[in-house]
Amino acid sequence: MSNGRDKILSRAVKEIEDGMCVNLGIGMPTLIADMIPADVNVMLQSENGLLGIGSYPDADDVDPDLINAGKETVTAKSGASFFDSAESFAMIRGGHIDLAILGGMEVSESGDLANWMIPGKMIKGMGGAMDLVQGAKKIVVIMDHVNKHGESKVKKNCTLPLTGEAVVHILITDMAVFEFTEQGMKLIELQDGVTLEELRNATEATFIVPEQLQ
């Protein structure tokens, strides 16, 4: 699975363009930060009130007053700003964040996302995910294509409670990359070593296959 994760992350980082303000979700998306090329200048936003997340601190520089949304100690890069939670979500809800990359549990063919709750499991809460999927200009979801039982997480309809309806723009899995268009969910790339047939077998959702990938 580590190989799959690398594929996902390597592809996800390509969504980040020079000059963007980007929110990376907690968990796997956070790992993308370290992979951003040095010549791509971005400002990473943390919904607890920081625009311009820096690297993790040296042990000597740890500051309990400086954490990211995953509650990890971080640093602030040059040009960073701090602000309160209302301002932070004004940025997000108001469409000022260019891109959010979030983890997913299920994505449907109409771009619905479920990533906050599994009924019957411990309640945790949605945190800022519902705000991000509505507010950021572009929503990229990254997740494994199938669950540990081999079942497709790319669904006709989500079975888990939704985080947002028709909110995903790009879905990146370890098997493929999809774009959500007015015509429907559309395959835009196959990951290395994956055939279209393998993808079809592993995918519950119906998707459009452009000519050059057929």
Binding site: T73, F82, L162
Partner: protein, 232 residues
């Protein structure tokens, strides 16, 4: 303008069973440690707490859970707290989960005299159930209501005797909006400075929102996820 208090006792003892309290902080960062501990000590019960998180099992708002002082919790994320789950499943604890941005905005709205606003956050999800839906420019939004609580617990870095507050780094988080949303706002701070010592352009919370100021000592500032750079 006698806002500075030298003990939290006198103020916290006025908080009645059944009160509602908005509490600043994100995770364990920027939480009003002393106010929470004093409230735990006092044992005030049946509280409705509005806060982004509910601490961890042995710290922050988790202390009030431990003591079974919370009747209802309104939060966006409570995944760090095992006691929380147990009390919720037992039916001892009512829970309202609110998207983080909606929670922040509801607090700001309450403090700003705005009874309700529309947001697209939560549309098409469980969060929208039972809420008024309305279209603007062809897009659907739901109505969310402002929050005003009996008390607000705030943690700041510096204060002056008028209650002007300055926060430090991401310890700011919910604190400024929380400060506006309490009928009585109590701010605990690391340093109390003289009037006029805070540059007027650099004040984050004007003192008009603050009724009591307390300088706390020996802040623990526990870290939830210590993460450092991996040097070669």
């Amino acid at each position: 303008m006698r806002k500075v208090i030298t003990s939290l006792e006198e103020v916290v003892k006025q908080i009645q069973d059944g009160s509602s309290i908005v509490v600043g902080g994100f995770g364990l960062c920027g939480i009003p440690e002393h106010l929470i501990m004093k409230l735990q000590e006092q044992g005030t019960k049946d509280l409705t707490i509005y806060s982004n998180n509910c601490g961890v099992d042995e710290w922050g708002l988790g202390l009030l859970l431990q003591n079974k002082q919370i009747k209802k919790m309104v939060a966006s994320y409570v995944g760090e707290n095992k006691l929380f789950e147990k009390q919720f499943l037992n039916g001892e604890l009512e829970v309202e989960l609110v998207p983080q941005g909606t929670l922040a905005e509801r607090l700001r709205a309450g403090g700003a005299g705005i009874p309700a606003f529309y947001t697209s956050t939560g549309v098409g999800t469980e969060v929208a159930t039972g809420k008024e839906h309305k279209e603007f420019n062809g897009k659907t939004f739901i109505m969310e209501e402002g929050i005003v609580a009996d008390y607000a617990f705030v943690k700041a870095w510096k204060a002056d005797p008028f209650g002007n507050l300055v926060y430090r780094k991401t310890a700011r988080n919910f604190n400024p909006v929380v400060a506006t949303a309490g009928k009585i706002t109590i701010a605990e701070v690391e340093e109390l400075v003289g009037i006029g010592e805070i540059e007027p352009d650099e004040i984050h919370t004007p003192g008009v929102y603050v009724q009591h100021v307390f300088a706390g000592k020996d802040y623990e500032k526990r870290i939830e996820r210590l993460t450092t750079s991996k040097k070669a």
